[in-house]
């Protein structure tokens, strides 16, 4: 059984890695800052909401791109929303793909859009897995009686 200190070290290392690899940016730190005793699960709640919203948006995007006549305005609106919410939680790589996606929408470039959809799905899936791992590590630290050392 890992000691509290070891678990905390694991958590810190993992978090730093996510930042270095660009999966998370400073906005994620902002979320942590907003969390307090009155709302101790704030970050998990917001991120869970992000997962739900994003999955719905990705479904809508896939459907929209399969249509006979593609509605680029609708697609742009969805991507705009995804860009906004990923930016709010600090999911930097997802946000970046969304920027390129919107450009292709403007150009009405169907291939570009399809490529971006594929990319954004991938980035979303990656950040989701990583955040879930992060939260699992946090729970381990707390269960072992430690506290989350934030900011890192």
């Amino acid at each position: 059984m890992d000691s509290v200190v070891q678990l905390q070290r694991q958590l810190v290392d993992y978090t730093v890695q996510l930042f270095n690899e660009g999966f998370l940016d400073d906005q994620f730190n902002q979320l942590q800052q907003l969390q307090d005793e009155s709302n101790p699960d704030f970050v998990v709640e917001v991120v869970t909401l992000f997962f739900e919203d994003s999955e719905r948006l990705l479904d809508e995007l896939a459907k929209a791109l399969e249509q006979q006549s593609v509605d680029y305005t609708k697609i742009d609106a969805h991507v705009h929303q995804l860009k906004g919410s990923s930016s709010s939680i600090g999911a930097q790589r997802v946000q970046k793909v969304c920027i390129g996606f919107r450009n292709f929408c403007e150009e009405r470039n169907i291939e570009g859009c399809q490529k971006c959809l594929h990319q954004v799905k991938r980035e979303y899936s990656l950040v989701k897995t990583k955040l879930e791992t992060l939260f699992k590590l946090e729970r381990k630290v707390l269960a072992a009686g430690g506290s989350i050392p934030w900011p890192m």
Binding site: Q27, L31, L34, E45, V46, D53, G84, S85, S88
Partner: protein, 242 residues
């Protein structure tokens, strides 16, 4: 002459007294007139007849929990008028915001905007949740809505407490500009205060917002310090204009 003193009520009210002098030449015939009886004896102040407009004023003032009265000269002529008005003291977000040196403190350890009632309009769940928490962290009381039309109805049903609207510009049904235009149509230029939130990095967004009657702009992503700074600036400007 203006005097101010605290009433006995615990920290809730302040009384302000206005003393007005009536100079010799002026006529107070529409305010009050004193009558003398046939024997020429002086009347006491209780028998000074009050003119109709003065009675109206007195009624209004008393409804405002104040008082108004005429003071008489020794000869029984009106020589002055005193007006006392009682004002309720509102939560002092104003004092906290304008005191120097607050910027050096962590915004989340010092809720500078305690009591500020904010309506937040943003159609995105995640953004709404994050911005709401951020505003609450700064001490605001937040009502969060997800569309422009909900924002307008929340405003019309709100109590008359101080209100600031934080408005996402890019909402699908009714965008922030239209909401602001509608708000300004029926309300004064500075109440409620409107702060726009936009992802746009264009230079003319600020100008456009100002033209629409908004009081401030914040760029996304919204940060705690950024929001605190802009709210402080907007409140400061509003105060200067009163």
């Amino acid at each position: 002459m203006l005097g101010m003193w605290k009433s006995n009520a615990p920290d809730e009210f302040v009384c302000i007294k206005f003393d007005m002098e009536i100079s010799e030449g002026s006529s107070l015939s529409d305010v009050a007139s004193s009558t003398t009886n046939s024997s020429g004896r002086r009347q006491n102040s209780a028998e000074v007849k009050e003119g109709q407009s003065f009675s109206m004023c007195k009624r209004l003032v008393q409804m405002m929990q104040g008082n108004i009265w005429i003071s008489l000269s020794p000869l029984g002529f009106a020589q002055g008028m005193t007006l006392v008005l009682r004002f309720q003291i509102h939560p002092s977000y104003g004092r906290a915001v304008f005191s120097p040196g607050t910027s050096s403190e962590q915004p989340n350890s010092n809720p500078q905007f305690r009591g500020l009632h904010v309506i937040l309009a943003d159609d995105d769940h995640v953004n709404r949740m994050v911005t709401k928490k951020l505003l609450e962290k700064l001490g605001c009381e937040v009502t969060a809505v997800s569309s422009g039309s909900e924002c307008l109805s929340a405003l019309s049903s709100a109590e008359n407490s101080f209100i600031l609207v934080v408005l996402d510009l890019q909402m699908p049904e009714m965008d922030g500009f239209e909401v602001a235009t509608r708000i300004r149509k029926f309300r004064s230029r500075n109440w409620p205060l409107i702060v726009a939130v936009t992802a746009s990095a264009e230079d003319n967004v600020w100008e456009r917002c100002l033209r629409m009657g908004m009081n401030g702009v914040i760029r996304k992503p919204v940060l705690l310090q950024g929001m605190a700074d802009e709210l402080q600036r907007v409140l400061q400007r509003a105060r200067e204009q009163f």
